[in-house]
């Protein structure tokens, strides 16, 4: 689906991360699903940017975007009531299992996991939200996470508060109570997590540079179970143990 939607609310969550809210009735998105967001109507940047669903509630869609480069920088200049063109929702996403889980977010990886947390909360599935960022200012959505999660832990690499990374934090946790882990963050974090070989299934929300985002171009390969899968169409959520990270 192609849609041109008006920004009904724009929020700055931190100095480089903002949210765009749209009114979008009639979709039934799954956590992990994303939209291909058109940067602008010129041909430069040429490709759309994949952005996860961070919240969908009462027909309101929230996308949270961290400024990384050219495309996200241009998007950050959009104002309320301006139109944005979106394609999607794309991706298979996941259906949350009714099992006590840990949601493990690194940096902007919090966006899709926040939507997963919302699903868990609505379905009364107990979960712990473990969220790490470089500095304390970069921790966003704290109130909402605290409200929904049975337990929430925030860690930062620098500054006051609990120090460390989500990977070191999960390593020190008693996991006997949990059945499943969902993780989203930079590839380095996913690799470190994979090396922990946790004694429970870990589902990773993968991010990469996409072309079409919908299975047409074969531009988004991930080595999974010995064959290439499409991040966009077969994922972006995969069982971490079976991924072979190549780049």
């Amino acid at each position: 689906m192609i849609r041109s939607l008006s920004i009904i609310k724009k929020t700055w969550f931190s100095k480089n991360t903002f949210g765009l809210e749209f009114s979008l009735p009639g979709i039934k998105p799954r956590p992990g699903q994303f939209f291909q967001v058109r940067v602008n109507d010129s041909m430069d940047p040429f490709l759309n940017r994949p952005i996860s669903i961070a919240s969908y509630s009462g027909n309101r869609l929230l996308l949270i975007i961290k400024i990384i480069g050219k495309g996200t920088n241009i998007l950050s200049k959009r104002r309320e009531r301006e139109q944005v063109t979106l394609f999607g929702p794309y991706g298979k996403g996941i259906v949350p299992k009714r099992q006590k889980s840990i949601l493990l977010a690194g940096g902007i990886g919090v966006a899709p996991l926040h939507f997963l947390a919302q699903m868990h909360y609505k379905r009364k599935i107990p979960f712990t939200f473990l969220y790490g960022a470089k500095t304390y200012d970069e921790i966003i959505l704290k109130a909402s996470i605290k409200h929904m999660a049975n337990r929430s832990i925030f860690v930062t690499e620098y500054g006051s508060g609990r120090r460390g990374t989500v990977v070191s934090a999960v390593k020190g946790m008693d996991l006997s109570d949990y059945a499943i882990v969902y993780a989203c963050g930079p590839q380095a974090m996913l690799i470190a997590l994979q090396q922990l070989h946790l004694p429970l299934p870990v589902y990773a929300f993968c991010e990469d540079f996409l072309g079409c985002g919908c299975g047409l171009c074969l531009g988004c390969a991930i080595m999974y179970n010995g064959t290439y899968k499409r991040i966009c169409e077969d994922g972006p959520v995969f069982e971490l143990e079976r991924i072979h990270f190549e780049n």
Binding site: I2, L216, L218
Partner: protein
């Protein structure tokens, strides 16, 4: 906008370029609206494709290094062709290969279950074969002649603009029995990773960035004597019309569908207006 090309009727002059729409089995409303689709390149054996990163965005375009990921001709014949038959458009199978035997084998194996072939002797993303045939008139002519013996269906040859004169290659292909020429395939390109101080990706450039070069190439081969399918950077009806002015009988749209899978519908509509204007002036 109906046209007759290679003895078959096409709904219109806007076709889908190879590799950007898979086998046309998604977004069927789009596939069924275009004049024809060129499938993803098919090779004799299945190929898993290249490791990531496979694409990289550049100014008004992109580099791809997909590496002909495809299920191979056997799987294609058994599992894909039956589905393609249900589409309401013409199907041209893009055939890629590493040896001349492979091209010949794939064409023979597919037989007359489709509407025609596009011999891809221009893929920059695999090590051997392919593009080497497309850069040498003698070899190009041999590939075409051998495929020609195996099929009576329309045989189009897709040319590379890289390090060769497309006109020389096009002439050789036509002499060897090609019914049409399509061009351009992607342009050699590299993007650097400055942190690692080495190339991040080397592959084929496509999109609006290559349009002027593509128009030059189409215009250069315009008198070769067979219909030309022009492509390279088309994103609008005006772009498509420019290719027709440069000598193409039809156009194919590629990368733009990554940005908008419905773009072909818009381009068909826009091109209609240009053609209508032209016929009005002619009267």
């Amino acid at each position: 906008m109906k046209i007759k090309l290679f003895g078959t009727h096409l709904k219109n002059r806007v076709l889908l370029a190879s590799g950007v729409f898979g086998f046309g089995l998604k977004f069927k409303r789009v596939t069924n609206s275009v004049g024809a689709i060129f499938t993803k390149g098919i090779t004799a054996q299945p190929r898993k494709g290249n490791p990531p990163p496979r694409i990289y965005e550049t100014s008004s375009g992109m580099i791809n290094w997909v590496g002909l990921e495809n299920p191979g001709v056997e799987y294609f014949c058994t599992n894909i062709i039956p589905q393609l038959k249900k589409l309401k458009t013409r199907i041209f199978v893009n055939i890629a290969g590493f040896t001349m035997d492979e091209y010949e084998h794939s064409v023979e194996r597919i037989g007359d279950t489709v509407d025609g072939f596009e011999l891809n002797i221009s893929c920059p993303n695999v090590k051997e074969g392919g593009i080497a045939f497309g850069q040498n008139a003698k070899m190009a002519s041999m590939v075409v002649a051998r495929a020609r013996k195996k099929t009576r269906l329309p045989l189009i040859v897709k040319l590379t603009p890289n390090f060769c004169d497309p006109l020389v290659i096009a002439k050789a292909c036509v002499e060897a029995g090609a019914d049409g020429i399509s061009l351009i395939n992607t342009v050699y390109a590299t993007a650097y990773d400055i942190k690692k101080r080495k190339p991040l990706i080397t592959g084929g450039l496509s999109g609006p960035a290559i349009k002027p070069f593509a128009l030059y190439c189409v215009n250069r081969v315009r008198n070769v004597g067979v219909p030309i399918i022009g492509m390279g950077g088309i994103v609008s009806g005006q772009d498509a019309y420019e290719f027709l002015l440069a000598g193409a009988s039809a156009v194919a749209v590629g990368s733009v569908v990554l940005r908008d899978p419905y773009a072909p519908l818009r381009i068909i509509k826009e091109l209609k207006k240009f053609i209508y204007q032209e016929t009005k002036h002619a009267r």
